[in-house]
Symmetry: C2
Subunit: 544 residues, 2 copies
Amino acid sequence: MGEALGDFGAVPGKAAPAVQPGPLRARDTSRDGLRNRIEVALLTGLRPVWQFVNRSPALARLCNRVIVNNAVLKVPTRPLALSTGAPYTSWPSLTDHSYFSRYLPPRAGADLPPLDDVAALFRPGADGPRQSPRSTLLFPCFAQWFTDGFMMTDDADRRRTTTNHQIDLGQLYGLRLEVTEALRRRSEQPGQKGRLKSEMVGGEEWAPRLYDAEGRRIPEFAAVPMPLRLPDGMPAERRAGLFAFGGNRANTTPFTAALNTLFLREHNRLCAVLERAWPDWDDARVFETARNINIAQLIRIVVEEYVNHISPYWFNLLADPTVCYKACWNRQNWIPVEFNLLYRWHSLVPERVSWAGRVQPIADMRLDNRLLLQGGLGAAFDEASRTKAWRIGLFNTADFLLPAEQASIQQGRDNQLAGYNDYRAAMGYPRVTRFEQISGDPRVVDGLRRVYGDVDRIEFFVGLLAEDAPPRAGVPGLIGRMVAADAFSHALTNPLLAPAVFNERTFSPQGMQSIRATWRLQHLLDRNAPGSGRASMEQDGAAA
Amino acid sequence: MGEALGDFGAVPGKAAPAVQPGPLRARDTSRDGLRNRIEVALLTGLRPVWQFVNRSPALARLCNRVIVNNAVLKVPTRPLALSTGAPYTSWPSLTDHSYFSRYLPPRAGADLPPLDDVAALFRPGADGPRQSPRSTLLFPCFAQWFTDGFMMTDDADRRRTTTNHQIDLGQLYGLRLEVTEALRRRSEQPGQKGRLKSEMVGGEEWAPRLYDAEGRRIPEFAAVPMPLRLPDGMPAERRAGLFAFGGNRANTTPFTAALNTLFLREHNRLCAVLERAWPDWDDARVFETARNINIAQLIRIVVEEYVNHISPYWFNLLADPTVCYKACWNRQNWIPVEFNLLYRWHSLVPERVSWAGRVQPIADMRLDNRLLLQGGLGAAFDEASRTKAWRIGLFNTADFLLPAEQASIQQGRDNQLAGYNDYRAAMGYPRVTRFEQISGDPRVVDGLRRVYGDVDRIEFFVGLLAEDAPPRAGVPGLIGRMVAADAFSHALTNPLLAPAVFNERTFSPQGMQSIRATWRLQHLLDRNAPGSGRASMEQDGAAA
C-alpha cells in the first residue's frame, strides 16, 4: 500500500487540516522561569553545535552526563517521604511498594469542578481533532506497551499498584516466577534451550495461544494473567487469537501484541546465538542470559529512540549507564503516582488506522489479533509507522478513549493530588498567574477559565495536557520534565546496568555485541521480520 | 550482689586465667598490606589527636565522613552481581530478595576437610576458655538481638532468607503487617493511642504473653510467629513466660527478651510524649511516628555505642546520615550471605552468668523468661553488664553452642563459599601465605595447619575467627572490616534517614529531640526502668 493511504490520523468525514495549526496566538512565556528559558534556548537552538557534539563520542558522553543529571535533579529525588498509603511518613509508607510513592502530599478537601465538566475539556471541538506534526502511531503504541510493563494501577484500590517498579519486560516474561515458568519451553535439547514457547503461523513465529479454537483456556497457561477487561461474550474465534503473554495488557491492541511478539522473537534469536557460543550452558542459563540482553536492549531503545523522539533537543541522548554510577539520584526505584498518571497520553491515539488496504477503527481492534496474524508482524509495524498520531493535548481525544481520560482525572482525585500549579513549583517552574501562560490556544485558555475560574484550581492531570508542547517536542513542557526525570532515574538505575553487572560476565561477549548493535526498533525488526517493514515513531522528514 | 559475683565468664571448675593472655607470640604481619597498616596505625594510635577531634563537632563530622566512606569502600558495593540463587547473573539473582546476595561466586567442588575436624577447632582446650579483656555479656546479647532483626536464614532452604533487609525493629513490631496489627492496642482513647499491647507485672511493663497459664496459644496472637525451635514438651509454666513479640527469636534468651522489652517500653513512652504534643493525631499516626523514632534511636545506638565498642579506633564514630546522601554505596539494601555468616560470634558467649545471686548456666535459660520477670528489666541489664564475655576466636566456644558453629560451617559449604584467602583479596587484604600470618597463637596455627594443610584451603567462616583480634577491637580484622562496611551501608541507608525524610515532619520536633538525646542503651534504660541498673557492653575501665 502506498503513502497515500498512510495518513489516517484524522477522522474521515471531518476535514483534516491541511497545515497542522500551532497555537493560534503566542503563549505568554513570562512565567517560564529564566533558567528554564536559557536551558530551552541552548538545547533546542544551536543546531550545528549539537550536530557536532553528536558526532564526537567523548564530547557527547560528557554532554549526556550533564544533561541527564540536570534533567533528573529538576524533580525531588528518591526516597520520597510519602506514598499513597498515608498522608504522613511511616515505615509502611517508606517500604510498602504496593502503594505508589508520591511527590507532593495529599491536598484534602480541594474545591474541584464537576468531573463531567473537566472531562468535556478532552473532547475534540467542531473543527475535529488535530494531527501531530511529528509522531506516528507507533509512538503512542510503544508508549502504551512500554509503560504497561511497569505502570499498573490495582483495580481494587486505585492508590495501589502491582508493579515491581522495574523495566524488566514483564509484558513478555511475566511479573511472577510461575508466569515465567509457564511461558518457557524448558528443554535441554540443542536448538531448544532457553526458548520462550512459540509457534509458527504463516511462516512467522508467534507466542502460543492462550485459548483453543473453541475459546477455552489452555491449561498449561493457567498461571498466565487474563487479558485485562476481556469481555465475557467475546466470540471464540476472536478469543482464539489472543496470545499467552506475561503481561495482562500485552494483548490490548494488535500493536501492543506486535511489540511483544518482536521482543519474543528477539529473545529466541538471542538464545540461538548463545547456544551456539556456549554449548555447555543449560536451558536456564541460556534463558536468563537472553532475558538480560533483551532487557538491556529495550532500555537502550527507550532512551535512544523513544526519549529522543519525545525530546525537543538537537542533542541525541545516550543510554550511558555510567551516568548514574555515582549520582545521588541512583536510589531504589519506586513509581510515583504522578508519573503513573502523567503518562496517559490518550490524545495521541488516532481514531483510525489503515491496515491491509482498509481504514480500520482502532476501537474495534481491542483484544483482536486477527489482523496481526493475517498480515504479519512487519505489516503491523509498517502501518503504525505510516499513520500519523494525533496531537497530544486537550480537546483532542478520540471518543473511544474519553472514558480513559475521565478515569485518569478521577484517579488524581482519589489520590488527592495537589494542583497543577503546586507541581509546577515542585518541579522548578514558576507558578502560573494567568491562563494565557499555559497555552496560546484560545480554546484551551477559555475552556480552563470556564471550568476552573482560577489557575490555582487547575488539576494536575488537566494542567499537564493543557500546556502547549514546545516545537519538536513529543509532549508538553511539564510532562516532558517529569517524564525525563523519572524515565532516566528508573531506567538507568536498572540493576542490569550497574557497575558490577553491566559486563560480559552478565551478558556474554555475544550479548554485549548485540546490545551495542541495538538502539532502534528497526534493528529488532530487521533481525526478526526481515525485509518486511519499517518501525519509526517519527513521521517522514520530521527529524529535520 | 557485688562485683565479686560479676566475673562469671569462665567455666567454674576450670581455672580462669588470672591475666588475659594475648597471642603467645607475635603474629607475622608481613601480609597485612601497607595501606592497611598505615590506616591501623593512624586510627588506633594518635590518641590525643583523636580525643581532640572527638571534642570538635565540625571536625568530628568531617573525619567521620572520611572514615565511614573509606570503611564501606573497602568491600564491593551493591548491587552485587550474584545472589545465592544461581551461579551466574540473572534477573531473579538481581531482584529476588528471598535469596542472599553474595560477594564472591560459588566455588564448586572445593576439597574440604571433614566437618567434624573443622568443628573441633572451636572447642576450648585443656586450659579452658579465655575471657574477653573488654566486652561484657551485653555485647554478644545485643549483637544477637540486633541481628535477629534482619539476619535470618530460611530453615527449609539455607540459601534463602526471610529478612526484609532493613533495620526496622522487626523483632518488636514484626516483619509483616498482620503481626504488627496483632501486637497493637489499636485504641483512639487518650492515654492509649499508638501503644503496643503490654501488661504490668510486678510494677513493670512487659509485652503480653503468647501462651496462657495452661500453655495454650492465646488466639489474639495467632499471627505472631512461634518462638524458633520451641520444644514440644516445654512445661506450661515456662511456656507461659514467653512474650508475644514480633520476631521469632526475641524470646530466645532472657537477654534478647530484655532488649525487646526495653524497646517496647520506649515505644509506649514515645506514644505518651507524642499524644501530649499532638492531641489531634489518631492512633495510627501516633503508632507510626513512635516507631519511626524508635528505629532511628536504635540505629543511633548501633553506630555510636555498639559499633564504637567493636571498633579499635580512638575516634568515636557518629550516626551521621548525611554521610551517605551522595555516596555511591547508597544502594538498595541486600544482606550478603557472607555478612549473615560472619556475624555468628558464638565464642563471645560465656557458659554461665550470675543472676539473682546465683550462678546460672546460660544454656538453661533458652526460651525462659521467668528470671527476667522475677528480677525485673534493670537487673537483667545489670547482670549482663557485669558478666565478662568470652574472647572471640577459635578454641573458645561453650559446649552448648558448638552445634551452632557446626551449622555455620555447613551453611558456608551449602552456599559453596569461596575460601578465606579469596575473601581477604576481595576485601583489600593481601592473601596470606603462611598460617602464622593469621594468628600468633600456636594452638590456632597448629590447628589450622593440621586440619587444612594449606592456607588456601581454609574456609571463610573458620579463617575469620582464626585471626587475632587487634588490641581494643571487639572482633578480628577481616570480620571487623566486613562488619563495618555492611553495617554502615545497611544502617545509614535506612529510608528513615534519607534527606527528604530525616526531619521533624517524619519524627515530630519531640521525636527529633528524643533522637538527639539517645545514643546509648543506658539512655533507654534510665527512661524506662529508672534507677534500676546499668547497660554497658564495655567492662569497667576497658574504655581507657
